[in-house]
């Protein structure tokens, strides 16, 4: 299987697709407002007629390129290209302002590569372990897993927990449309056969993340937006000395592990991992006062962590079918399109594709480093591409993606409806990421809850240790999340009060 996967990944056509995917991903990641998720949405229909290995390898390349590309605008514009690069701005931009843009970019690129490779290494090691554990899962365990994963929503909703929960419940509510699990009776289909299978995950994601981005840009049309791009950025070699690089290895290892750990948790993406890793790196540093003034350490912490998150987020996706963030939710759609069912049996049913994914991630990481180190000038030039021409084309491609999902124009209507819903939710300060979790976990919860209700009389819950552990973990997560959210809410309220007093 390993050789089959390797063979599939090193086919000239696959390598070409990985290269294209990496370049497009970097471009999407580097332009503020375009994200890795959008790149995956756009290219998903292109992969429909490819083999599973080719298609998913290309999507992986888009993911890795997209997350890595964010550092370019973070360093040169002080605007993170993707949310994953928020913390890169803190030291990347000051380094560039000191005339060391090449060093900042080189550091970001090389440590993005290292972060990806550590993430992939842990992905290869941990996925089979998690699959073996998940093989023991029955209805009780899956039910508890769904509850545990849903409880993570509370952790990622920030200071406004009710609105985060609204988003998650709305997602779960949307997932009840279609034939009910177990008895296959239609629910909320209004007699439309197109709704029998429920809403497609892909269509929901397009609406949530692509359409709303265009609308956000539409809001800014009248505002003058002039980016000042530092075009003199040149990278000599890697941009830093070997000694400087070696000194960063402990920082990089800690950051990569933080990235992977956060990636594994459902719903929490690179945006959080880079911030946490930056804070941890600062706290562990002998010179925390220099953070934010333009030092390599900050860029290393942020970029290694966000790329480590890629491998981390893939672990629950492949082993349990639970995505770690928006990009992996999109990849879940991609896997479904190519008839690859994520879950504990993935190695048995689609082992070659899984290994092809691992190898393609490594190839993509190498391409990403080479392309970004050699072709930085090209990517800097791309920052100037006018988005008013680019975004409408992205929307058309999203529409094709929606139609291609089940060859139904009906899905484009849903896409527009979800886009409108997403825009209204964003305007109401309701986060949209928890909705994906609710949408994916809702059916898993319902199906297994109903099975449990059938089994409960003969198979007692206390004979399932994994179930008990997961429920205990849920209680711990809820308590800690509620406490931390309250603290955050109090800080926000205090900040607002202070602002008012100043006014």
């Amino acid at each position: 299987m390993i050789f089959e996967g390797l063979f599939a990944a090193i086919q000239p056509m696959t390598i070409l697709l990985i290269a294209i995917g990496t370049i497009v991903g970097i471009i999407f990641g580097s332009i503020p407002g375009l994200t890795a998720t959008m790149a995956i949405v756009m290219f998903l229909p292109v992969t429909y007629s490819m083999t599973a290995s080719q298609g998913i390898s290309m999507l992986m390349a888009l993911y890795i390129g997209g997350i890595s590309g964010g550092l370019i605008s973070a360093i040169l514009l002080n605007i993170p290209g993707t949310p994953s690069s928020v913390a890169t701005c803190f030291d990347g931009k000051p380094l560039a302002d000191k005339g060391e843009a090449g060093k900042a970019l080189g550091t970001g690129v090389v440590f993005s590569f290292i972060g990806t490779m550590i993430g992939v290494g842990l992905l290869i090691l941990l996925t089979p372990v998690l699959c073996n554990v998940a093989l023991k899962f029955q209805a009780y365990e899956y039910c508890a897993l769904a509850i545990f994963s849903l409880s993570m929503v509370i952790a990622l909703t920030g200071h406004d927990m009710p609105k985060g929960l609204i988003s998650a419940v709305l997602g779960a509510l949307l997932a009840t449309v279609g034939l009910a699990p177990i008895d296959s009776k239609p629910r909320f289909t209004f007699g439309m056969f197109q709704l029998n299978n429920g809403f497609a995950l892909l269509v929901l994601l397009i609406g949530l993340f692509a359409i709303s981005e265009v609308m956000k840009y539409a809001e800014e049309v009248r505002k003058e937006q002039k980016y000042i791009v530092n075009e003199t950025a040149k990278i000599k070699g890697c941009g830093f000395t070997l000694k400087e690089g070696i000194a960063q290895i402990p920082n990089a290892i800690v950051s990569a592990f933080i990235g992977v750990a956060i990636g594994i948790l459902p719903g929490i993406g690179g945006g959080v991992s880079c911030m946490i890793s930056y804070t941890v790196s600062k706290n562990l540093s002998k010179h925390p006062e220099l953070y934010g003034t333009g030092i390599m350490d900050g860029v290393v912490a942020s970029e290694t962590a966000n790329n480590g998150t890629i491998g981390g987020a893939m672990i629950p996706l492949l082993a349990l079918g639970i995505p770690g963030d928006a990009c992996t939710a999109m990849l879940l759609g991609g896997l479904q399109v190519h008839n690859v069912a994520p879950g504990p049996l993935i190695y048995t049913k689609s082992g070659a594709v899984v290994y092809a994914i691992f190898f393609s991630m490594m190839i993509s990481a190498v391409f990403m480093m080479i392309f970004m180190l050699i072709g930085m000038r090209l990517f800097v030039a791309v920052l100037k591409v006018p988005k008013n021409y680019l975004l409408p084309v992205v929307i058309v491609l999203c529409g094709i993606g929606a139609i291609g999902n089940a060859n139904m124009v009906f899905d484009t209507y849903c896409m527009v409806a979800f886009g409108l819903m997403s825009y209204l939710l964003i305007k109401s300060k309701v986060p949209t990421v928890p909705m994906i979790l609710g949408f994916i976990l809702g059916p898993m919860f319902e199906e297994n809850l109903r099975r449990v209700s059938q089994l409960a009389s003969s198979d007692k819950f206390y004979t399932h240790p994994i179930f008990m552990v997961l429920l205990f973990a849920t209680i711990i997560v809820v308590i800690f999340s509620v406490r931390s959210n309250r603290r955050e809410a109090m800080l926000v309220a205090a900040g607002e009060k202070e602002e008012e007093e100043v006014e």
């Binding site: 229909p45 429909y48 007629s49 009710p162 609105k163 929960l165 609204i166 419940v169 709305l170 779960a172 509510l173 009840t176 009910a180 177990i182 008895d183 009776k185 239609p186 909320f188 359409i211 265009v214 609308m215 840009y217 539409a218 809001e219 049309v221 988005k387 008013n388 021409y389 975004l391 409408p392 084309v393 929307i395 058309v396 491609l397 529409g399 094709i400 139609i403 291609g404 060859n407 124009v409 484009t412 527009v416 886009g419 409108l420 825009y423 209204l424 939710l425 109401s428 300060k429 309701v430 809702g442 919860f445 319902e446 809850l449 109903r450 099975r451 209700s453 409960a456 607002e496 008012e500």
Partner: protein, 175 residues
């Protein structure tokens, strides 16, 4: 001023969500249930009731929180500004126009066809996203992008990637 808009961000979405939840809950009893052999003690009504109920509670909670914020704001001497619909629409003109363009695009795509509708949509959407003072310069590029993109995408996806994009009026020409 900040707090003023803050409560609106709770009241309007909260009431909206509560209304959606209520409609959803009212539809649940209409779902057919299976009661034959192998049926589960929890029917296919249980989870919809659970989600609908949770959404209703959350929506009402957020709305009530908003009303409380509003009352606190008034008590503190704040002035409630009347919601100006006209200004709001004017401020979001590009967003509304984008949604209208997108809705018309997908609504007519099946009947008119992918190629003509995409040309029209791209042309208008590009103009909507372009500042008014740059429109003169944008007409020709928008038209060129519209024509090239729609034809190339139709050809590639329909004939090489097996995505059944609607032919519409092109059917008459056998394309």
């Amino acid at each position: 001023m900040k707090q003023n808009s803050n409560y609106r961000l709770d009241i309007i979405p909260g009431l909206g969500i509560a209304l959606i939840a209520l409609i959803y809950l009212l539809m649940v009893p209409g779902i057919q249930t299976f009661t034959g052999m192998g049926s589960t003690p929890l029917t296919n009504h249980f989870v919809p009731y659970l989600w609908g109920g949770a959404l209703l509670v959350l929506g009402l909670y957020v709305a009530i929180r908003g009303f409380r914020k509003r009352a606190a704001f008034v008590k503190a001497g704040g002035r409630i500004e009347k919601f100006d619909f006209k200004t709001a629409v004017n401020e979001k003109a590009e967003v509304i126009a984008s949604f209208v363009a997108l809705t018309v695009y997908v609504a007519l795509m099946n009947a008119v066809g992918f190629v003509p509708m995409t040309i029209v949509y791209l042309f208008f959407q590009i103009l909507i996203l372009t500042p008014k003072h740059e429109w003169k310069k944008a007409y020709i590029p928008a038209l060129i992008i519209g024509v090239i993109c729609s034809v190339v995408l139709y050809y590639v996806f329909r004939y090489h990637l097996n995505v059944l994009l609607p032919q519409g009026i092109l059917k008459a020409f056998g394309l």
